[in-house]
């Protein structure tokens, strides 16, 4: 009898040990591919995600404590910087690109418009240290965080170690970003036969599959590749995109294909935010393509759309809006 108590006690102890680490179940939306992020190297837990969320909204990450990640990645606009063609950072300094929307990042291998960052865990380093963005060295960020009692507590809770390191800081931010999943738009409901497109949306979807989906591939609405989509070179910014990273002329003017999910709210469009409206984007593809050596194969054949078809295509694109994502309280500002 005594022995049974011992066993029971051990079982309860093990259960408590497991329960105290609140694991987070990453749910892959129905019929989506497997994520490419290796979760075994950074297993998600509720506490780490919470820490990442606090860091995401904290301007402590910037040199003068004025700019947080959320300054240029606002939830209500699919985590991008709405209304600003080029995003601005500390001291109102203007960067040279439009901040990308953050969603479904577990399916991406390379980050930034030019793919300069090769892993989500290292992504946050780049804006932190860019003088036009947050302008702060991670070494200093860590010193600032170490001085904060509330962060010591949060790091201890998350990593069982109150020593704050670069590795843990970046992994926590990465965990929060991994939870930003947008998969609940009208389009998704239609795919699951829960609702139906209007005739206009249906026609737009047909046109989309004919003309756009080879690069903006479903269900992510990006093939996560780099393409030259025929934009003219901005003579002031002289941004050659991917070529800067690979130094390979075949990558000249190639930029990462962005997802079209939540496109309604993530304006302005393109790497330099040159287009304010979806209509301008569609017009670019029908009549603005500039031919060059590296122009995407998918754009070699002219896209022809009547003005009615353009309206239908736009109607379809608006079905990619996911309000449960844009207004999900789990993603919003979180006070320590």
């Amino acid at each position: 009898m005594k022995r049974q108590y011992y066993i029971l006690f051990i079982i309860i102890f093990i259960c408590i040990a497991f329960v105290s680490i609140k694991k987070y179940h990453f749910v892959v939306p129905k019929s989506w591919p497997k994520p490419t992020y290796d979760f075994s190297q950074n297993p998600l837990t509720e506490d780490k995600i919470e820490l990442g969320r606090v860091l995401f909204y904290d301007p402590i990450l910037s040199k003068n404590n004025t700019i947080s990640c959320a300054s240029c990645h606002s939830q209500y606009t699919a985590f991008t910087h709405v209304d600003h063609a080029l995003s601005h950072g500390i001291d109102d300094r203007i960067g040279n690109r439009n901040s990308p929307a953050l969603m479904n990042l577990a399916w991406h291998n390379l980050f930034m418009w030019d793919g300069a960052i090769n892993h989500l865990d290292l992504q946050a380093l780049s804006p932190m240290s860019n003088p036009n963005e947050m302008g702060e060295k991670i070494e200093h960020v860590i010193i600032k965080l170490q001085k904060s009692k509330s962060y010591s507590f949060l790091f201890y809770k998350a990593f069982n170690d109150s020593l704050i390191t670069g590795e843990h800081t970046l992994k926590a931010i990465s965990q929060f970003m991994l939870t930003l999943i947008s998969s609940n738009s009208k389009y998704d409901s239609v795919m699951q036969n829960l609702t139906q497109f209007t005739n206009q949306e249906k026609n737009g979807y047909r046109l989309f599959k004919q003309n756009c989906s080879s690069c903006h591939t479903e269900p992510l609405f990006t093939n996560v590749k780099f393409e030259n989509n025929g934009l003219s070179l901005d003579t002031l910014l002289k941004d050659y995109g991917r070529m800067k990273v690979t130094k390979n002329p075949n990558d000249s003017l190639k930029f990462k294909v962005p997802s079209l999910r939540n496109i309604e709210f993530s304006y302005p469009y393109m790497h330099d935010g040159r287009f304010k409206k979806i209509g301008e984007v569609i017009n670019h593809y029908t009549s603005g393509i500039i031919n060059s050596k590296t122009l995407s194969n998918q754009l070699q054949k002219k896209i022809v759309l009547s003005s009615n078809e353009k309206v239908d295509l736009t109607a379809f694109l608006l079905t990619l809006t996911d309000k449960t994502f844009l207004f999900n309280p789990k993603y919003s500002y979180f006070k320590k």
Partner: protein, 231 residues
């Protein structure tokens, strides 16, 4: 009786661990930075450079990885998870302690200068590989394998500064090679780092800064490999 037998068993294992512990001997690799024949210091010291000019070093940091011991042509020991950040201004880092079993004899020490490509593409790491060590490029993923910064009157730059950040994990700008040094003695191996061997190659009129993976970085890295010797 039962307690006594338990005690004996515990004592036996305790003894066993002591015996095993004794069998292990710590070996160290000692890195000794010099400039020509003079000990190198990371501070205000000036060194003669190319006859009549001068040079000063503010920072010398690099990664040593994949430490291996070789006997003849045979690999006899390999350090697991072998990544060490050497910082010439931090005495402690100049000594790598290796947990080599005592019965191993070797004539050669092999190590790589820098961090392999797998580590470069597999996310963030801690310890010596933590990005807070100033050896990670923030704007573009990748470790800086070798970092040398300083001043020379020959540099026509702001404050006469030069800085060489050498790294790159993708072809054609891949910089990650190994160095093999012969050793007669088995323990406390001293490895000389003679920066003069590298600086004699540098033409400050042509280049003062290397900050990203490039052809220049590949060429300069080859020279950085030559600074290591066993006296």
């Amino acid at each position: 009786m039962r307690i006594i037998s338990c005690f004996i068993v515990v004592l036996f294992f305790f003894n066993l661990t002591i015996v095993i512990g004794q069998k292990n001997k710590f070996d160290t690799l000692n890195f000794i930075p010099i400039y020509g024949s003079i000990p190198l210091k990371i501070d205000d010291a000036f060194y003669a450079f190319k006859d009549k000019d001068s040079i000063q070093f503010d920072e010398l940091k690099f990664y040593i990885s994949e430490v291996e011991l070789i006997n003849g042509n045979k690999l006899v020991w390999k350090e697991p998870n072998s990544y060490h950040l050497i910082d010439a201004s931090n005495l402690k880092s100049l000594q790598i302690i290796l947990n080599v079993p005592q019965n191993i004899s070797f004539q050669k020490v092999k190590f790589s200068l820098g961090v392999d490509s797998i580590v470069n593409v597999s996310g963030v790491r801690g310890g010596d590989l933590d990005p807070t060590n100033g050896m990670y490029w923030a704007w573009q993923s990748g470790y800086i394998n070798f970092k040398l910064e300083g001043k020379s009157n020959l540099c026509k730059t702001k404050n006469n500064e030069f800085s060489f950040h050498l790294g790159g994990y993708q072809y054609p700008f891949y910089v990650h090679k190994s160095v093999v040094l012969d050793f007669k003695k088995n323990s406390n191996t001293e490895i000389i780092i003679d920066l003069k061997k590298m600086m004699d190659y540098v033409d400050f009129a042509q280049q003062n800064h290397i900050m990203s993976p490039s052809n220049q970085a590949v060429l300069m890295y080859e020279k950085a490999l030559e600074i290591f010797s066993n006296k």
